[in-house]
Symmetry: C2
Subunit: 218 residues, 2 copies
DNA sequence: CCCCTTCATTTGGTATACCATATTAATGAA
DNA sequence: TTCATTAATATGGTATACCAAATGAAGGGG
């Protein structure tokens, strides 16, 4: 149960995103500005703004005079998500390989180190967060501002999906290993190569996600 | 000069977007909620919301306690935009080719017809709008909800860029011709082929845009 | 003359109230 | 009972007011 005391500090958006992520607010559920405002103890204004942001990020859909509805992440949509992601991760890796700096590489390396620590400690939530940050950082370092914005949306969606099926399997370690390979490829400066590694990595992640979805829920 | 009377009807976002597009509000210019509210005759609330949306779409950047600043579309950024667009248009075309319906094809064909009419009438603004709608429709028909959302952002940015250098050259006709080729490719059902046509089309559009940018302004 | 402190102004954020419109419920007539 | 009309309610949108925080300017001390 998420504390509703002084939500202001963290922003209503964070509160709602986490509430949806953790399942406190379930897919398909309808939300209203007034209802949420009362529930979390703030006025309509910040709630309204948060809902708009959720809408922009594709987490809720708005139907006039009915309220907003939390999306349901179907298998089909996850496949669509990874279709887009594969291309964009590939582009990011290629561009970054062609313009990589020692600082950028070490920034990514640091994130991998952190991920490794969280992985052995079995902190799945933290691990997921750092994983997301890794890919966002990659997009940012690629130098393409659009990639950064888009990847942010995709990672937001992935964050929702992941919490449903948190992988405690051997995937985290393989994931980290793939990230290391990706960094090496980027450091090599070979754009084509880095792109292929990145795309391969996304395809693996996709397979894993799809498998989790089809066997577990849905 | 855009009329400010009863902006409510069209929404503040549209007003601001057009004001920026037409150059009434110039790149680099700083905007404030209160200033805009007074200028266009509405309260801060809808202005605030519109600004947030502009921010999400990457049209303005917000610096705390300084106001929001209208972005400057550099040549580099436009190149980044087309890098992303090429991949995604390719994906959209491929997916649509693999699931095309007669209704979808005729919807696209209708838009091309309209574009042709506006082209011969030399209505450059209308032509640009329909052109944008063509690509948005393509993304929507591809069945990938993420493509649709992303393409919307990209087209919004392109809309800004186009108004700076409105092409009265022979490009419109070539553009329409390429769209026709794309539809044929999609109708053939050959995903690979449709993808290559779409990517080629984007590369041409990119060349044209870059040329206009480097010779004209910047 | 310069720097530091203080205060006014500007901006950001939130709360509350009001009105329009759409949906839903209630009521009444066929 | 069923349908149409009307009334109540919920939602969306906007306006206004208030408070906090940050910036920039003014004034005082070194």
């Amino acid at each position: 149960m998420i504390e509703m005391t002084d939500v202001k500090k963290n922003s209503v958006y964070e509160y709602l995103y986490n509430a949806i992520r953790t399942g406190e607010i379930k897919p398909g559920q309808t939300l209203t500005e007034r209802g949420l405002a009362e529930k979390i103890g703030v006025s309509r204004t910040p709630v309204r703004e948060a809902i708009r942001k959720l809408e922009e990020q594709g987490i809720v859909t708005h139907e006039p005079h009915k309220g907003v509805k939390v999306i349901t992440l179907s298998v089909g949509k996850v496949a669509q998500l990874y279709d887009v992601r594969e291309l964009l991760e590939g582009l990011a890796a290629r561009k970054l390989a062609e313009r990589h700096t020692p600082e950028g590489i070490s920034e990514l390396a640091r994130l991998i180190d952190k991920a490794e620590q969280e992985a052995v400690a079995n902190h799945v939530h933290e691990l997921a967060r750092i994983n997301s940050e890794f890919h966002l950082t990659l997009a940012r370092l690629s130098g393409n501002v659009y990639l950064e914005a888009i990847m942010n949306m995709l990672q937001t969606q992935i964050g929702l999906m992941m919490s449903a099926s948190l992988s405690t399997s051997g995937r985290p370690l393989q994931n980290i290993s793939e990230h290391k390979m990706l960094i090496d490829a980027i450091r090599s400066g070979d754009g084509e190569f880095a792109e292929s590694i990145a795309k391969h990595h996304v395809r693996n992640a996709r397979e894993h996600a799809m498998q989790k979805l089809t066997e577990g829920g849905e």
